[in-house]
């Protein structure tokens, strides 16, 4: 069966990300998550639609201002930032990671728990 209008969009999606501001944003997100830029780029090209890619920069900017105010663990992990502002993870996965990390902070030092939580976020993003 021939799909009339379906086309491989990867090249066009990549063109969107080559703009100066988008490039900076992808760099900032990769730094925040602590993962390679190329891997992140491949993930967001696969997951996001083109409109969301165009809007990546302003969503990231609003996420910096408005996301995760108050809770220290949520702020470190970027709970709202990576689910509602930039939907890299679904809410359920993030909720599990968040509650497990909060439980871990009782037993082991705070930094170590956050590091483990971030490791799990990276795995979830790449999966």
């Amino acid at each position: 069966m021939k799909y009339l209008y379906e086309k491989d969009l990867r090249q066009m999606k990549y063109n969107i990300l080559t703009s100066t501001r988008h490039d900076e944003t992808v760099h900032a997100i990769a730094e925040r998550l602590g993962m390679g830029e190329a891997k992140l780029r491949r993930t967001i090209l696969r997951r996001f639609d083109m409109s969301l890619l165009e809007n990546l920069e302003s969503r990231w900017q609003m996420g910096q201002e408005h996301a995760d105010n108050g809770d220290a663990v949520a702020e470190e992990l970027g709970c709202e930032l990576f689910t509602r502002f930039i939907p890299l993870l679904d809410t359920e996965t993030m909720q599990t990671i968040y509650s497990e990390t909060t439980a871990m902070t009782q037993e082991i030092p705070f930094e170590e728990a956050i590091a483990r939580g971030r490791e799990r976020i990276r795995e979830a993003v790449l999966s």
Binding site: I16, T20, N55
Partner: protein
């Protein structure tokens, strides 16, 4: 994106309601839309890539051709960004003339957006009334700038043409006619029971959603976001005593009504400009220098940002344009259309956010 259901209804790229090609894939359960995905790329011309390495004299005309509907504001924001880099001051008369051109363009754009909405909900009578009123507005833009669409009216340090006294009188007469007609059209829209059925409570977007997606312009103002009009920070508009219009309903009806109300506001602003138009030259002088800045202005659809870096000869080394449609279309597709109760509402909701695909993709 991950699929949740199998049924996917594509709309576009050629659609009777849409002026420009865009494709929306709606995943539906029955008539209810679960999620929507936007496929772009039909209008991607790569204008930012063309602009790089060109002198400002060329980029000025390219900036206008980012979008044909709001070309005046693209020109204005680019020129004002260049002025900020090079410390060029504008004569007061030129600053007022810029406001007049910009507000005429805003009126034309808002009336066109409302025309599209009425056309989409099949109220063709009102749509044609609005389109005819728009012609009068464009006549005045032509009277001031010499062109209907791509005007290239502003240059660093001033504007190209002066507003002659007889033209100002004719413009005031035309504005009175436009105001009268728009009052009638607004009444038709506001009180029509069938329009209310198709518009009220449909495509709802809450204030939190609007802030999260960084919506701007009438779309944000209809959802009750305060202080999102950049005209409040523009020195000339501040001198004219500009206030922002905000509505709290957040549905299609509110978005269209905000645009209707802003047309009246624009008429008042132009009148005030013509009354208090200071005498003096319309062009100052200056040289474009090297520098880097990020400058934002209020386009008809919302906040428009130009981030520019120039070199000593006034060439643009790097440029990034963030148009209002980028945010509005994204918010529309992922917040408003989601949970729409029928496929028929998708087109009207999409049009109500005043999408401009040429802006969105550049």
């Amino acid at each position: 994106m991950k699929k949740t259901v199998d049924v996917s209804i594509p709309l576009g790229p050629m659609h009777p309601c849409w002026k420009e090609p865009v494709r929306i894939k709606c995943e539906t359960a029955g008539e209810r839309v679960l999620r929507a995905e936007v496929e772009l790329g039909y209008m991607k011309k790569g204008i930012e890539r063309i602009m790089r390495g060109r002198p400002w004299q060329e980029v000025m005309f390219l900036a206008e051709r980012v979008c044909g509907i709001c070309s005046v504001i693209h020109n204005m924001v680019f020129i004002e960004a260049m002025e900020e880099i090079s410390d060029i001051t504008v004569p007061p008369r030129a600053a007022y003339l810029r406001v007049i051109a910009n507000e005429l363009d805003r009126m034309a754009s808002h009336i066109l957006a409302n025309f599209s909405y009425c056309y989409t909900i099949e109220h063709e009578t009102l749509a044609m009334y609005l389109l005819n009123t728009r012609e009068t507005v464009l006549d005045n833009l032509e009277r001031l700038t010499g062109s209907r669409i791509n005007t290239a009216y502003m240059i660093p340090g001033g504007v190209r043409f002066d507003l002659l006294p007889e033209d100002a009188t004719a413009m005031l007469v035309d504005l009175m006619k436009v105001e009268e007609e728009m009052k009638r059209h607004t009444r038709i829209f506001e009180t029509g029971p069938l329009i209310a059925l198709r518009s009220k409570g449909i495509g709802y977007m809450s204030r939190e959603d609007a802030i999260r997606a960084h919506t701007v312009g009438p779309t944000a103002r209809a959802s009750g976001v305060e202080d999102c009009d950049l005209r409040l920070r523009h020195p000339t508009y501040r001198a004219l005593g500009f206030t922002q219009i905000t509505r709290t309903e957040g549905d299609n009806f509110a978005r269209v009504m905000v645009r209707f109300q802003e047309v009246f506001q624009s008429i008042d602003l132009i009148r005030k400009c013509i009354e208090t138009l200071p005498d003096g030259p319309i062009r100052g002088g200056g040289f474009c220098k090297a520098g880097e800045t990020s400058y934002a202005g209020e386009a008809p659809r919302g906040e428009l940002t130009y981030a520019i870096k120039t070199d000593d000869y006034g060439r643009v080394i790097d440029i990034a344009i963030r148009t209002p449609s980028v945010m509005n279309i994204e918010a529309c597709a992922h917040e408003m259309i989601k949970d729409a109760s029928s496929i028929a509402d998708v087109t009207s909701t999409f049009i109500s956010s005043d999408p401009c695909i040429a802006c969105n993709e550049r």
